[in-house]
C-alpha cells in the first residue's frame, strides 16, 4: 500500500505547525498539551513497552523536570536554553540513583519501589515550602523569551506576529519532535533490541551475555531523562508547577495513556495521549465526571483491546488490506 510509505510522523509534525493558523487559541492549547504528554508517555513506554519494566512512579521524573525548569526560570532567572536541558539532566540523575535500587527488584517489588521513590519526591515537593512552594506550588513560571523570533521575523517572512503562547507551542513541537526522533533511534538501535530481548526473556538475555541490570538501568535513566524534559515543558505550558504533578495518580494516568495507545508500537503512546486528551476536552464539556468515563474506557480496553488503539487499528488495517488484495 502506498499510504503506508508516507513518512507519517513528519506529516503529523508539519500539520501540527498549522494548528495556530486555525485561529483558535483553544486548539493550540490542546495541541500543546498533547505534544508534551506524547513525549511523557513515550518515555514511559521505553520502560514498560520495550523493556518490560512496569513503573508506577514515572511522574517523579516528570515532576523533577517541571520543578527544575520552573525554579531555574522563575527564581534564578536562568534562560530556557539552559533550564530545559537541566530538567532532563536532573531527572536523569535522580533516575540513575532511584533506578540503581529499583532494577535490583523484580515485578511487583519493582513497581512498589518506583512508587515509594515517587512518593518521597512528592512528599518533598509538597512540604518544602521555601523552595517548591509546598502545597500551593509555584505559579507564574515565565515563558521563554521570544524576542529573537521577532528579530528573525524582520528577515524571514511568516515567522512573526504570533502570541507568546503560540511561539511556545512551536518550540514545544520542535523539541518534542527532536526527543521522539531520538527515542526512536534508541529503540531501533542494537541497544533498543537488547531491551526488547530483556523484556521477552531476561534469563536468556543474561545467558547470551547481556548485563541485564545495566541495560535496565540505562532504560530507566533514559526514560526518566525524557520524562524530565516533558515535565520541563509542561511546567511552562501550565504556567505553574504543583505537587500533584508528582502524586502517584499522575503516574497511573500516563500508564493509562500508554496502554490506551498501545505499548507494542512506538507511536502508540503518542496516539494514546492525543485520544485521551481530546476525549477529556470533549467529555468535560458535558460532565464533570471524567474519571468515571476514563475508568470505564480503561475497563473496556483491558477486556476488549489489550493491544490498545494502535493494536486494534493495526489489526483492522491488516484485515482491510487483505480484503483489498483479494478483491
Amino acid at each position: 500500500m502506498r499510504l503506508r510509505r508516507l513518512p507519517w510522523p513528519l506529516v503529523v509534525l508539519v500539520a501540527a505547525f498549522f494548528v495556530p493558523a486555525l485561529g483558535s487559541r483553544f486548539y493550540t492549547f490542546v495541541a500543546n498539551d498533547v505534544a508534551i504528554w506524547a513525549l511523557f508517555a513515550t518515555s514511559l513506554n521505553l520502560m514498560v513497552g520495550y523493556t518490560g519494566l512496569v513503573s508506577f512512579g514515572h511522574a517523579a521524573y516528570f515532576g523533577i523536570g517541571a520543578y527544575t525548569t520552573g525554579l531555574l526560570m522563575k527564581k534564578a532567572g536562568v534562560s530556557f536554553l539552559l533550564a530545559f536541558p537541566a530538567a532532563g539532566l536532573l531527572a536523569g540523575a535522580f533516575a540513575l540513583v532511584f533506578g540503581f535500587f529499583c532494577v535490583r527488584l523484580t515485578r511487583i517489588y519493582f513497581a512498589m519501589l518506583t512508587l515509594a521513590f515517587a512518593q518521597i519526591v512528592w512528599a518533598i515537593c509538597f512540604k518544602w515550602n521555601e523552595v517548591t512552594g509546598g502545597e500551593q506550588g509555584m505559579p507564574e513560571i515565565p515563558y521563554p523569551s521570544f524576542d529573537w523570533m521577532e528579530g528573525l521575523a524582520a528577515v524571514v517572512p511568516l515567522v512573526g506576529g504570533y502570541r507568546t503562547s503560540e511561539y511556545f507551542y512551536f518550540l514545544t513541537l520542535v523539541l518534542v519532535a527532536a526527543c521522539l526522533w531520538l527515542l526512536h533511534r534508541i529503540v531501533d538501535s542494537p541497544f533498543g533490541r537488547m531491551l526488547t530481548a530483556i523484556r521477552e526473556n531476561a534469563e536468556r538475555a543474561e545467558f547470551i551475555g547481556i548485563n541485564v541490570r545495566r541495560y535496565e538501568l540505562a532504560a530507566f535513566v533514559l526514560a526518566g531523562g525524557f520524562a524530565g524534559l516533558a515535565g520541563g515543558l509542561f511546567g511552562i505550558f501550565n504556567r505553574g508547577v504543583f505537587p500533584d504533578f508528582v502524586y502517584w495518580t499522575k503516574s497511573s494516568e500516563v500508564l493509562i495513556m500508554t496502554l490506551l495507545g498501545g505499548m507494542g508500537s512506538f507511536h502508540g503512546p503518542s496516539l494514546g495521549a492525543l485520544v485521551l486528551i481530546l476525549l477529556n476536552q470533549q467529555i468535560v464539556s458535558y460532565t464533570e465526571y471524567w474519571p468515571l468515563v476514563l475508568g470505564t474506557i480503561l475497563v473496556v480496553l483491558l477486556f476488549g483491546f489489550p493491544g490498545g488503539l494502535a493494536g486494534a487499528a493495526g489489526a483492522l488495517w491488516t484485515r482491510a488490506a487483505g480484503r483489498f488484495r483479494r478483491a
Binding site: 527488584l105 512498589m112 515509594a116 518521597i120 497511573s252 474519571p291 480503561l298 475497563v299
Partner: protein, 294 residues
C-alpha cells in the same frame, strides 16, 4: 519535649492510627497473598465503607445501636460489592500480566470514587461517636476517648481472630494452601475459584469495616481513598506482602514513625514513612516478616 505523658500521648495516637491501618492493610495483604494481585481499589472500598456508614446512620436516625448497625451494614455492603466485582470482572484477568491487574484495580478507583462523588457530593461528611463510647478517661495524664480504647482493643482482637481462622480452621488451611500452590489445591478437589471469591469478599469486608469505623474520628472526604491506599501499601511492604503478622507489625511501625516523625521533623513525617518503605524494599524486598517469593 521529653515529658513522658506527652510521649505517651504521641505513641497512643500512633497506636490508634496503626489499628485502623491494620484493618485496611490486612485485607490488601490477604488478597495479595492469595490472589497475587495488588488491589488499588482497596482504599476505595474503605472510602465507600465510610460513606455507606454515614448513609445508614442518616437513614436510621440517632439511637444507641445505630452506629454499630451502620458499621456492620456498611462492611457487609462493601463485601457484596467486592464479591460482585471479583465474580463478574476481576476473575477474567487472572493469569494475565500484573500491569493489567494494577490498571484494572485503578480503573475501579476512578469509577467507584466518582460514583461516590455522584451519590454524596464533595462536601465533607462526619459521623458522631456511638453514644456508649462518647466519653473519655484519663490515663497517665492523657485524655483517651473511649472510642479510641475500643479501636485499640478491636485491632488485636481482629488480628487474633483472623490468625485463628487462618491457622486453625479448614477454610484457613485452604487459603494458606492457595497462597502456596493454587493448582495442586485444585487437583485435590478444593473449589479454588470459590475460595478466591471468598478471600476477595473477606478483604472487601475488612476494608469496608475499616472505613465505617474510622468515621467518628476522621471526616469523610473525596480523595481519602487514594491517600489511604498508599499508606496501606507502605504498611504491607514494610511488614511483607502477604504476611499476616507482618502487616500487623508494619501498621505498628507506621503509626509510631508517623506520630514521632511529626515530633522530630514536623515537615517531613510523610517523607520518613515513604523513606522507610523504600529502605525496606531495598534491603529486604519481601518485608520484615515475609518470605521471598519463588
Amino acid at each position: 519535649m521529653l515529658d513522658p505523658s506527652f510521649l505517651f500521648a504521641q505513641s497512643l495516637s500512633g497506636l490508634t492510627a496503626a489499628m485502623f491501618l491494620f484493618l485496611i492493610a490486612s485485607g490488601l495483604s490477604l488478597v495479595f497473598g492469595v490472589l497475587r494481585v495488588l488491589n488499588f481499589a482497596h482504599g476505595t472500598f474503605y472510602m465507600l465503607g465510610a460513606y455507606s456508614a454515614y448513609q445508614i446512620v442518616l437513614w436510621i436516625g440517632p439511637g444507641p445501636g445505630t452506629f454499630w448497625v451502620a458499621a456492620l451494614g456498611a462492611a457487609l455492603g462493601i463485601a457484596v460489592l467486592g464479591g460482585l466485582i471479583e465474580r463478574l470482572l476481576f476473575r477474567h484477568l487472572y493469569g494475565k500480566e500484573e500491569l493489567y491487574h494494577l490498571l484494572f484495580t485503578y480503573a475501579l478507583v476512578l469509577i467507584l470514587s466518582d460514583a461516590a462523588k455522584i451519590l454524596w457530593g464533595t462536601q465533607q461528611k462526619s459521623v458522631s461517636r456511638p453514644p456508649g463510647l462518647a466519653g473519655a478517661f484519663t490515663l497517665f495524664g492523657v485524655t483517651v476517648p473511649y472510642y479510641n480504647l475500643f479501636i485499640l482493643l478491636l485491632g488485636p482482637a481482629i488480628a487474633l481472630g483472623f490468625w485463628f481462622m487462618l491457622q486453625r480452621t479448614r477454610v484457613g488451611r485452604f487459603i494458606r494452601a492457595a497462597a502456596l500452590d493454587r493448582e495442586t489445591l485444585g487437583t485435590l478437589g478444593v473449589n479454588v475459584s470459590g475460595l478466591y471469591t471468598g478471600v476477595f469478599v473477606l478483604a472487601s469486608f475488612l476494608g469496608g469495616l475499616g472505613g465505617a469505623l474510622v468515621t467518628p474520628v476522621r471526616t469523610i472526604v473525596p480523595g481519602m481513598d487514594t491517600e489511604i491506599i498508599v499508606e496501606a501499601f507502605v504498611v504491607v511492604v514494610i511488614g511483607g506482602l502477604g504476611s499476616f503478622w507482618g502487616t500487623f507489625l508494619g501498621a505498628l511501625i507506621y503509626g509510631q514513625v508517623l506520630s514521632f516523625g511529626i515530633l522530630l521533623f514536623p515537615r517531613f513525617s510523610i517523607f520518613s514513612v515513604f523513606a522507610l518503605m523504600a529502605a525496606v524494599l531495598i534491603l529486604r524486598p519481601w518485608g520484615l516478616l515475609g518470605r521471598p517469593l519463588k
